[in-house]
Symmetry: C2
Subunit: 227 residues, 2 copies
C-alpha cells in the first residue's frame, strides 16, 4: 500500500471525480454519436460545466491518453472510462418496493441498456406479488436472499416504504450485496464495506430552496444594510 499508482493508474480517485467521469463518459458518447473522432479538454469542460484544467487533471489520474495539440481520442477515452467505471461488466440489480417509484424504475430501459439491468423485483403486498412490471414477476421479499444468489445480483435498490427500508437493507446485506441505492429518507445502518448511496429528492429540493432563499436575503440586504 504505497503511494505508487497501481497498474490501472489509480492514485486514489475521489468521489466527486468519479461523478465527473460519468459525465465525461456521457458527453463522449454524444460526441461519438456526432462522428467526432477526437475531443479537447475545453470542449469536454464546456459540456460538463467544469474547467478544462479539471478535465485534464481528472483524465491524467487514470492515464495519459491525449495527443498534445489535438485532444483526446473519443474511442480510446470511452474505452478507458468504461474500464474505470466498471462499464465493461454487467451489474445486475434487484429492486425492493414496487410502488410508483419502483414501477418507474422497472419500466426504464435505460439501466438495462447501460449495463445495470434490474433482474428481480420484490414487494410484501400480496396484491402486487405475481403481477408483471417492466417484464418481471414481482416476488415476495422473503425470496430475496435466494434470488440474489441465484442471479448473482450486485446492487440493491431500495424503493419500498421508509419504515421497511432498514429491514430490507439488512436482508440485502445479509444476502451478500455490497452496494445499495436507496430513495428513502432514512439513514441506513450498514456494516463497514457496504456502500450506500442516498438519492433523496427532498435533499436536493431543500438545497435549491436554500439557494433561492439566500439570493432573496442578499437582495433584501441592499435595502437594509448593516445591523
Amino acid at each position: 500500500m504505497g503511494t505508487m499508482p497501481d497498474r490501472t493508474g489509480n492514485p486514489r480517485i475521489s468521489q466527486p471525480a468519479v461523478r465527473r467521469y460519468s459525465h465525461y463518459y456521457r458527453t463522449l458518447l454524444e460526441a461519438r454519436g456526432r462522428g467526432d473522432v477526437s475531443v479537447s479538454s475545453r470542449e469536454l469542460a464546456e459540456r460538463t460545466g467544469v474547467t478544462s484544467v479539471q478535465v485534464r487533471k481528472d483524465l491524467s489520474m487514470i492515464g495519459t491518453f491525449g495527443k498534445r495539440g489535438l485532444g483526446y481520442p473519443v474511442d480510446g477515452l470511452l474505452y478507458e472510462l468504461a474500464q474505470v467505471l466498471g462499464l465493461d461488466s454487467r451489474w445486475p440489480m434487484v429492486l425492493a418496493g414496487v410502488g410508483h417509484l419502483g414501477t418507474a424504475l422497472l419500466n426504464s430501459a435505460r439501466f438495462r441498456r447501460k449495463g445495470f439491468p434490474i433482474v428481480a423485483a420484490f414487494d410484501v403486498d400480496e396484491e402486487r406479488i405475481g403481477t408483471m412490471v417492466g417484464g418481471l414477476h414481482v416476488q415476495h421479499i422473503d425470496l430475496l436472499p435466494h434470488v440474489i444468489r441465484q442471479l448473482d445480483a450486485r446492487i440493491g435498490i431500495i424503493a419500498c416504504s421508509p419504515h421497511a427500508a432498514q429491514e430490507v437493507c439488512d436482508q440485502m446485506v445479509k444476502a451478500g450485496l455490497r452496494a445499495l441505492l436507496t430513495f428513502m429518507p432514512v439513514n441506513l445502518e450498514v456494516p463497514a464495506g457496504v456502500r450506500v448511496r442516498h438519492h433523496d429528492i427532498l435533499v436536493e429540493l431543500e438545497a435549491l430552496a436554500f439557494g433561492l432563499r439566500q439570493e432573496e436575503e442578499l437582495s433584501e440586504d441592499v435595502d437594509n444594510p448593516g445591523a
Copy 2:
C-alpha cells in the same frame, strides 16, 4: 461584503453543509416523534453518518443554540434549520414530462407535505394532455410560462425525454424559474444565476460500480502484487 457573518448568522455555508442540514433536520423530526426534547451532537452524528465535531461546526455556522453539558433543544434547532433551509416558506413546483417518472413524482404526497407542492404538470403528448395524474390536469407545455407566473411557481422539475430537456429548460428559465431539478442525462445550459441540480441515477450506479470494481481489484492484487 466583509468577512463578518450577516445577521442571519451566515458566514458562507457550503453545499455539502446544506445537504447535511437536510439530514439533521430529518433526524430531528424523528427525535421529536420519539418525544425527545434535546439531542446531543454525538447522537445527531451517529444517525447521520458524520462526526460529532462536524455537527457542532455545522450548527455553529448558523448560530449557537446548544446547552453545554446537555445538547441541542430539538424544537429550537428544528425551527432554526427550517429557517436556513427555507422550509418556513412554500416552494411551488411545476413538472414537465408525465412519463413513468413524472407520474411517480406526481403521485408522491411527500413533496407537498414538506412544502414543495407540484402545482402543475405539463407534457407534449396529446394522449396525456387533459388526463388527471396525482390530482392535476396535465396541460400542454406551451402553457408553461403562463401557468408559472399565475401560480408563482419557484422550482421546475424536468422529467421529459432527454432530447426535449434543453428546450423545456429554456422555457422554464424564460418564464422566470431560477431553480431547476432535472432527471435527464443531459447537461443543461442555463444563464448565470439559475441553479440546476442533476439527479441522474446512472451516475450514482456508476459510482457504486466503481467502488465495487475497485474492491475487486484490490483483492486481486493480493494474489498478483507488483508489476
